[in-house]
């Protein structure tokens, strides 16, 4: 097991290196002079020269790349161009607000989706199942932006059930700002999740062991909740990790709309300001998080499913 984890860890090194190359090529080479992109319309030669010196754009490419690798390892991405703050400070400030929205919303969604998926799969072919599938496809087809605008306009602005947007640091105040985005989040993601889990669970119900379990006289509930559920955990876990990137997309829009000062809001602002160093740092950071998430799933697999070989 230990060897397996170490090998998996070593496997991530070429991936991280590749990510560094892609991001570096994209930002520092494809787009032309980064300093020009940052100053934009207000370019003058002196300002550009200053920027080049500050961010090291005047050095040879290879030296800049080594510098970037160093940033990844030390987690020191320098200063933001727009806010002049240390980027690592901005990230650690944004982490709390982001997490207090995404984590509960994500777990709530997954929990509800698994339960609904199970119920729907249990009644497969009946009207409950059919209407749930229709609901899911409809729900998936409504644009996320429409959900958010509708919720913010009707539930918050017209009916006054929730604050329209905002955020408080104190935990006792914070939750009331998070309830509406959280509800919307769950509604937005439920369609896709329920449909996916339903399929995953239904695929298991055709397996031989299910027939065996029935043949030996187990009740349908026992077959379902003991045997089928356990075996459908593998695709469920995979899906949960695959959703992490979608989670970030969600976080973007939700944080932006509801004024939650998390990582997503910081990134949207950085795009608006052409704040090149921040966008680059965020892209790197999320890629690293994603690789970490994948690693965690691989290890989780071996705990959940003994059939996954450690080779």
């Amino acid at each position: 097991m230990f060897v397996y984890i170490v090998r998996k860890l070593l496997n991530t090194i070429p991936i991280i290196f590749g990510v560094a190359i892609v991001i570096f090529v994209l930002f520092n080479m494809v787009g032309g002079d980064p300093a020009l992109m940052m100053v934009g319309k207000h370019a003058n030669a002196q300002r550009i020269a200053e920027l080049r010196a500050e961010y090291g754009f005047d050095k040879p490419q290879i030296e800049q790349f080594v510098q970037y690798l160093k940033q990844i390892v030390t987690f020191d991405y320098g200063r933001s161009y727009a806010t002049r703050r240390q980027i690592s400070d901005m990230i650690s400030d944004g982490l709390g607000p982001s997490m207090s929205l995404t984590l509960p919303a994500f777990f709530l969604t997954t929990f509800l989706a698994v339960i609904i998926g199970l119920v729907v799969a249990y009644f497969r072919g009946k009207w409950i199942d059919k209407s749930a599938v229709v609901f899911c496809v409809f729900g998936m087809s409504i644009p996320v932006l429409a959900y958010i605008l509708f919720g913010q306009y009707f539930l918050a602005y017209k009916l006054g059930l929730f604050p329209i947007s905002g955020y408080e640091q104190a935990l006792s105040e914070r939750w009331q700002y998070l309830v509406l985005p959280m509800i919307l989040w769950v509604v937005v993601s439920l369609g896709y999740d329920v449909r996916f889990f339903r399929t995953a669970i239904l695929e298991e119900t055709g397996q031989d062991y299910v027939r065996t379990a029935r043949a030996k006289g187990l009740s349908e509930q026992k077959v379902f909740f003991k045997h089928v559920l356990k075996n459908s955990m593998v695709p469920i876990i995979t899906n949960v990790v695959i959703e992490i990137p979608l989670l970030i997309l969600g976080a973007f829009l939700f944080e932006g709309f509801f004024g939650i000062p998390g990582i997503g809001s910081i990134t949207i602002e950085a795009i608006g300001n052409s704040d090149f160093p921040v966008i680059k740092a965020m892209t790197t950071l999320f890629a690293l998080l994603y690789i970490g998430g994948n690693l965690a799933t691989d290890i989780l697999y071996t705990l959940v499913d003994p059939r996954v070989s450690l080779k």
């Binding site: 496809v137 409809f138 970030i248 795009i271």
Partner: protein
């Protein structure tokens, strides 16, 4: 198992799938919805309908009225027809779907075929490459490319084209690994078939149904991504887009102006719904395992 299975004359996967698809009324409706969007988009592109979209047709923010066609969805802040903007939004969305698929599908198919067929270092390299790309969350990669290439519709084409081939590439690689040692391929190579002919003439036709299925998914995701990119200000510039219309609606809603949001949302909803349902039906019809 129905008795019809015993009939001696074989049917190809395609004719079989076509028959099954024809029975699926809902899928046929969805297909025609998509064709309708495509025709509208083409007509708008050629200037036959909804032209010019940027001319004032009434006072600012006049609500929908069932008089002239151009006023069915009311007007926006400059008095322009929201209906025309929705139609031109469809043109932008369909063109983004089409062009990004034309970029991503060839990349996905050829890289997947190479990796799966040749294996070895080729496979390692391609697998490494798409693992790296898929590690960078799609939306950030999209934003980064759109940011770097410069705002505009070309950036959207490129960003979507070069980020969305990974799923298809994975599937193709897996299928080529499965198929390359099948009897028919071994037979072909003992008859002296070259690698190129094995890949293109023998294996590719047998796995091409995956391309059709992913086409519908890719097209739909491209439409959705275009809306979000445009909404964030990185998408099309100076042209109507459903994303920009929804962005405008953010401020308009508080003044009771709902028609721009409703128009863009409804237009997007129906095309995405049609792709969702058609994609499912295609998968059911083309998957030889489900009968």
């Amino acid at each position: 198992m129905p008795a019809a299975q015993a009939e001696p004359k074989g049917r190809s996967l395609w004719s079989d799938a076509y028959r099954r698809l024809l029975k699926d009324k809902l899928a046929i409706i969805c297909f025609w919805i998509i064709v309708f969007y495509a025709v509208v988009a083409l007509a708008a592109k050629l200037g036959w309908i909804a032209t010019p979209w940027d001319r004032a047709v009434g006072p600012a923010y006049s609500p929908p009225s069932f008089g002239a066609f151009e006023l069915w969805l009311g007007t926006d802040i400059f008095g322009r027809s929201v209906m025309y903007k929705v139609i031109h939004g469809a043109r932008v969305a369909m063109s983004v779907g089409l062009v990004s698929c034309m970029i991503s599908i060839p990349i996905g198919v050829s890289l997947g075929a190479l990796a799966g067929f040749y294996g070895g270092w080729m496979d390692d390299l391609i697998t490494w490459f798409y693992t790296v790309l898929s590690s960078i969350p799609n939306i950030l990669l999209l934003l980064a490319i759109a940011f770097v290439v410069g705002k505009g519709i070309t950036a959207v084409y490129i960003a979507l084209g070069v980020t969305s081939w990974i799923g298809l590439c994975r599937v193709m690689r897996g299928e080529f690994i499965k198929h390359k040692n099948r009897d028919y391929v071994v037979a072909a190579s003992s008859l002296g078939a070259t690698n190129a002919s094995k890949i293109f003439r023998h294996i590719l036709p047998n796995v091409s149904h995956f391309i059709i299925i992913s086409l519908s998914i890719l097209f739909m995701s491209a439409i959705k991504s275009e809306v979000i990119l445009s909404f964030l200000g990185l998408g099309v510039q100076g042209q109507p887009s459903w994303g920009i219309m929804i962005d405008d609606a953010k401020l308009e809603l508080a003044r009771g102006v709902w028609w721009q949001l409703a128009g863009a949302t409804a237009a997007m909803f129906f095309v995405v719904l049609a792709f969702n349902i058609l994609g499912d039906s295609l998968r059911d019809a083309l998957d030889p395992k489900i009968k």
